[in-house]
């Protein structure tokens, strides 16, 4: 009855989870409720409040401010400042928010992309955090018993400004800022992007279907085929983490039963019975995976009945770490997550809870996804205002990433040139404006809640651009002789499965990274130091010359009958032609040695690709694959992006004051925050 399937996960995640769990159990069993070391709850004044709206774009913001639908942003701009904020290179959230936190350029904080490459294997790896398994494991009777705790480290280097403020006597509350996992030991922190799910991944959902697996599309998450009885009763199970204690690493699972109802389905999971109508989200359900004797691991999931009987499809969210019994620390102090859950109810704990991939794969509908996103937004709002109304921190930072996620998934609704635009309905066309209005509503609440001496900064890490064309950069590298495939192969799977490294000089991996196959650095490197510079120089020159003619562009250049004079005709043709034939794919290639001086942890790419708007690295490129075509239309719902040349996608900056020195770059916010604290301290004796 149990199905086994293979999923990608951090192999050793559960060693740690297990040992931490044992520790938590120990602490609980001796009745020692871990209380915060800093119990200073005295009110704070002259606070610095920083609210981030990930991916909020200056042009869209201006457009909707002009239209009068963002009254609070307009009000704030009138009070203080509003201007574009230069983003990091590349303009990716982990890179930009790391610069925001530390005030350092990527070359010094060491986060260069969502994905880093493992030079030993040429395979992609998550760049934000790293899990180190325990060194000592006692292997006995088929059980692996960890003798020491493993470690999870944030790969980001440098000290965030909120830690600096704390070490100088201040208190900081930092809520869901990206790249804050594991949490910093400060007054109050809820970790953001980087927190894994219970499987140790960045978000593995499960789609249950009675149809064939091939029909469901198995490119990303888990698809489980259910074998129903004729009556409709289905006995299946939800697979959890692997058993940390067993050498064989059996997958732990918990039973789940589905039965048809008049409206939808009745589902039994985790000791609860829920009835769902089609499209309806369940409340949080706690699931328990038994490890050994009294030991179990718990997580929380939400279900959505995607399709009704007789062809039911059930979506199960990634198994979030239970905030009331976290297997790994997700907050500071450690019991803050549980306290908060007691107050606002269970919430998404995973670093990237907006399950964009499920929408991209059409496993759930636009409406269902937006409902989930609204839940996320509500949770973040509740967390942020809980911290804000406590009023016990001199620095309060909260980031709302929902603006970014909605922009990614619904750019197709505001970009008439996107392949999916004709299919978008009113909901899809209005989604981005809706989330901007939500941001405005939250901003209004923040402004109402502020004290007279509080200073407010509202910012985003980058803006947005259309994503119409997926660029297979590795295909270009193959076609131009930089990347060589094994004899007889014309394509390659992910992690460069068919690449002949003994002949290859350069490869692309991650959203913007380009690497030289360097001797002594890469496992099968062949390029010596002087030659590497020649290859880099060639790529810097050649790639921006790459032009692309969209297939329909020739038809788009239609000359209207109304044009009579030659001059008019020329002008018209000129205008029509500009974006069409032979448009550049890449605006600029940046030299890693120049922009990443320092290369803090050795992860820095040799070159950074600055795509033109409308283009972006294909998903295959990010994972090191070489598909057939150079450029493919992006027919996915993930239709907006920002991983392009940074000058095209600046973020926003609003302040309720006139900064003494202009804040024009995201890395300058940290310096302002540090200075603000110093000045504050000087004021108060």
């Amino acid at each position: 009855m149990k199905k086994r399937f293979h999923i990608n996960r951090l192999d050793h995640q559960l060693y740690i989870s297990k040992s931490v769990l044992l520790l938590v159990l120990f602490i609980l069993s001796i009745g020692l409720s871990a209380c915060g070391e800093k119990s200073d709850n005295s009110p704070a004044d002259s606070r610095l409040i920083i609210v981030g709206f990930d991916g909020m774009d200056p042009n869209l913001t201006q457009q909707w401010m002009d239209a009068g639908v963002l009254p609070n942003f307009s009000k704030l701009a009138a009070q203080g400042t509003f201007h574009p904020l230069a983003t990091s290179n590349p303009p990716q959230s982990p890179v930009a928010w790391s610069s925001f936190a530390t005030g350092l350029p990527p070359g010094e904080h060491g986060i260069y992309d969502f994905l880093r490459r493992d030079a030993d294997t040429y395979s992609p790896d998550f760049s934000i955090s790293k899990t180190i398994p325990p060194e000592n494991i006692l292997n006995i009777f088929g059980l692996n018993i960890p003798l020491d705790e493993g470690q999870i480290i944030n790969r980001r280097q440098g000290v965030p400004f909120w830690s600096d403020v704390e070490s100088e006597g201040g208190r900081s509350s930092v809520i869901r800022v990206p790249v804050t996992y594991p949490p910093d030991p400060i007054h109050r922190m809820m970790a953001g992007m980087g927190v894994p799910d219970l499987l140790g991944t960045q978000g593995t959902y499960t789609l249950y279907t009675t149809r064939s697996l091939a029909a469901a599309g198995t490119s990303s998450s888990r698809v489980v085929r259910m074998r129903p009885h004729r009556s409709g009763r289905i006995e299946t199970s939800l697979e959890g983490p692997t058993d940390p204690l067993h050498e064989e690493h059996q997958t732990l699972s918990t039973p789940m039963i589905l039965e048809p109802t008049a409206e939808g389905a009745k589902i039994q999971l985790g000791g609860e019975t829920i009835e769902l109508a089609v499209g309806e989200w369940s409340p949080w359900i706690r699931v328990e995976f038994d490890v050994l004797g009294p030991i179990s691991v718990t997580g929380i999931v939400r279900l959505n009945l995607v399709a009704a009987y007789p062809r039911p499809q059930l979506y199960v969210s990634p198994i979030n770490i239970d905030p009331e019994a976290p297997v790994v620390p997700i907050s500071s102090p450690a019991d803050y997550a549980a306290d908060l859950a007691g107050k606002i109810g269970l919430f998404h704990t995973i670093g990237m809870p907006e399950e964009t991939w499920s929408l991209n794969e059409n496993h759930i509908s636009d409406k269902t996804w937006l409902e989930m996103l609204k839940t996320n937004l509500d949770e973040r709002e509740a967390m942020f205002f809980d911290a804000m109304t406590k009023n016990d921190s001199e620095v309060l930072v909260g980031v709302f990433v929902q603006t970014d996620r909605v922009s990614h998934m619904f750019y197709r609704g505001i970009d008439p040139e996107h392949p999916l635009y004709p299919e978008t309905d009113e909901l899809a066309r209005g989604a981005i404006e809706w989330i901007y209005k939500e941001a405005d509503r939250i901003l209004g609440k923040v402004m109402a809640e502020m004290g007279p001496d509080d200073r407010l900064i509202v910012l985003s890490d980058h803006g947005f651009a259309p994503f119409r064309w997926a660029v297979n950069l590795n295909r270009w590298l193959v076609d131009n002789g930089y990347l060589v495939l094994k004899a007889g192969k014309t394509q390659s799977g992910i992690a460069f499965s068919n690449v002949d490294w003994s002949k290859s000089t350069a490869y692309a991996l991650g959203l913007n990274g380009l690497y030289i196959n360097r001797k002594g650095r890469e496992a099968h490197g062949i390029v010596e130091e002087p030659e590497a510079n020649v290859i880099k120089a060639r790529l810097i020159k050649e790639l921006p010359r790459w032009t692309f003619t969209p297939p329909q562009a020739t038809q788009a250049v239609a000359v209207e009958d109304t044009i009579t004079t030659e001059a008019e005709l020329e002008a018209e043709v000129e205008q029509e032609v500009t974006p069409a034939p032979g448009q550049a794919v890449i605006r600029q290639i940046f030299d890693g040695d120049v922009i990443y001086a320092g290369n803090a942890n050795g992860d820095a790419p040799d070159l950074v690709v600055g795509y033109e708007p409308a283009f972006r690295a294909s998903w295959q490129t990010t994972l090191g694959a070489v598909p057939k075509d150079l450029i493919e239309p992006n027919a996915k719902k993930w239709s907006g992006d920002h991983c392009i040349t940074p000058e095209a996608v600046p973020g926003i900056l609003f302040t309720n004051f006139k900064p003494e020195q202009p804040i024009s770059q995201i890395a300058q916010v940290a310096a302002y925050a540090r200075k603000h604290w110093k000045q504050n301290q000087a004021k108060t004796p």
Binding site: I140, R211, S212, A214, P228, S231, P310, R311
Partner: protein
């Protein structure tokens, strides 16, 4: 502490071991020792639907084969696994389902044998001839079907393959081969494979010629058996096609009797396992409206021929076995599958199959097993379909339109009254999923075929699309992909003659 555990483990192991060793051996009553079967003869009568083949018996008309049928195991409800030759014969010759042997598939969801080469038997899948070769057999084939010698893997293991066009030439070849074996000093075990094509081509490519040759008696007999096919009278092309087809099937029956008589006269029948089957049937507008709707085909091209649907007219096939160890013949009404053929043959010929994991069953067992699920798939023209038969119930799923039809074959043997019901959807989705889960991730690469082979395939109606020619080169580069990009807007019908 550790010591204690280990000691108890050892004790436990010893105790368990004792029980295992001392378990009393169940003594079987010795059966009569069966005759050793030395040889195998497989005869494929291409494109013969079961009802036409058995029409003689059902209408109490006896011919030379009728007498032989009384001595045979007649599987009246045998099921093919596909509606056309390559996937079906590959199953007979390997024992694996289409989604395991990999042959006869097309790259896209819409098949078009007019313009695309199908896949071959996967490397690593052994054929009967290969396995029998290991057991000391020589294997020889005489086939009128060009697929058989075009490199799709069906030829694997044969010592000789003789391409013959007509039934008569195959019979001459067979007569000679029997003589050679009679004269040989050492009697090597032998596997002979014969493949007749008479029922495949006459009524499609040479209709006028063969229809004009039919005697009035022949027409009359055909009309008696045609049923609804000839409801519009002799003038209807489809009726004429059926009458020509019916006559070809009768001639094939006669040929089979010839072969069996020769075997008996030479004394070889006593030591030869003889198996006759058809790889698939033939449709004569039996489901015209459905075919037109499924394929957006107002001309009704898809309702005729084979390779384009999974109705019983294309899947229900004759299967006959003469086993020297059978005292007398019998009629088996339990459904069996062409999947059962290869494992049964190997078992009867004394080849150990205990290590194999065949999806079929030994026929001796299968004829008593009523609770089985039968699958068919691999359309040659049009959207891919998968059919599932469970007891009397059957579903046909069109993978492109994602529509399913459900029938009860007991109440509705002609599959004219589709059923509905959530329980059917749930049940058959589950079974279809099981079949898809079995699928091999790979399908065999299409072979490189030369111009001569292409001409032969074209001569019997395949690969007539011009695109295929472009893929055929005198000496193809192994790196060149022979498959052609799917052009879904341009699906040519199986036969394009005047209808």
């Amino acid at each position: 502490m550790k010591q204690v555990y280990i000691t108890s483990f050892i004790l436990l192991a010893i105790t368990l071991g004792y029980f295992l060793v001392s378990k009393p051996v169940h003594k079987e009553i010795p059966k009569e020792i069966p005759k050793e079967i030395k040889n195998l003869l497989i005869i494929t009568i291409d494109t013969v639907r079961a009802d036409t083949f058995y029409a003689s018996e059902d209408n109490q008309f006896s011919d030379r084969l009728s007498i032989w049928l009384k001595r045979a195991r007649v599987y009246r409800n045998a099921q093919s696994v596909a509606p056309w030759t390559i996937p079906s014969i590959a199953t007979v010759l390997t024992g694996y389902a289409q989604n395991q042997h990999g042959a006869g598939a097309f790259p896209g969801a819409i098949a078009n044998l007019n313009t695309q080469l199908p896949s071959s038997v996967l490397a690593g899948v052994s054929t009967l001839a290969e396995r029998l070769g290991v057991a000391g057999f020589s294997s020889n084939a005489a086939s009128a079907h060009p697929w058989f010698s075009s490199g799709f893997g069906l030829e694997r293991g044969f010592n000789t393959i003789d391409a013959r066009k007509s039934r008569k030439n195959i019979d001459i070849w067979f007569e000679q081969s029997i003589k050679q074996r009679e004269q040989a000093s050492v009697q090597q075990r032998n596997f002979t494979y014969l493949h007749y094509m008479e029922a495949h081509g006459r009524h499609t490519r040479n209709l006028e010629e063969y229809f004009s040759k039919l005697s009035n008696d022949q027409k009359k007999r055909g009309l008696n058996w045609a049923g609804a096919i000839c409801e519009n009278g002799l003038e209807a092309t489809i009726c004429q096609r059926y009458l020509v087809y019916n006559q070809a099937v009768l001639e094939l029956r006669d040929s089979l009797a010839n072969v069996l008589e020769q075997l008996e006269n030479s004394g070889l029948l006593e030591q030869t396992l003889v198996l006759v089957y058809s790889d698939h049937g033939e449709e004569f507008h039996d489901h015209l409206e459905q075919a037109q709707a499924d394929n957006h085909d107002p001309r009704g091209i898809y309702g005729f021929g084979h390779g384009n649907s999974l109705y019983e007219e294309q899947l229900h096939i004759p299967l006959l076995i003469w086993n020297p160890n059978d005292e007398k013949g019998r009629i088996v009404n339990t459904p069996v599958s062409l999947l059962d053929v290869a494992p049964s043959i190997l078992d009867w010929l004394g080849v150990d199959i205990s290590a194999d994991n065949f999806p079929g069953m030994l026929l001796d067992k299968a004829e008593k097993e009523t609770d089985r699920v039968f699958y068919a798939s691999n359309i040659a023209y049009g959207p891919e379909q998968i059919s599932v038969r469970d007891g009397d119930e059957k579903s046909i799923w069109n993978t492109v339109s994602d529509k399913s039809s459900y029938f009860n074959l007991k109440n509705d043997p002609d599959e004219q009254q589709p059923l509905t019901g959530d329980d059917l959807v749930l049940h058959f989705d589950k079974l279809t999923g099981d079949y898809l889960d079995l699928a091999s991730a790979n399908i065999g690469e299409p072979p490189e075929i030369d111009a001569e082979q292409l001409e032969r395939l074209k001569s019997i109606g395949y690969l007539q699309g011009s695109e295929v020619e472009a893929t055929v080169k005198p000496k193809p580069d192994p790196n060149i992909d022979l498959t052609i990009e799917q052009d879904e807007t341009k699906i040519l019908p199986p036969q394009t003659e005047n209808q």
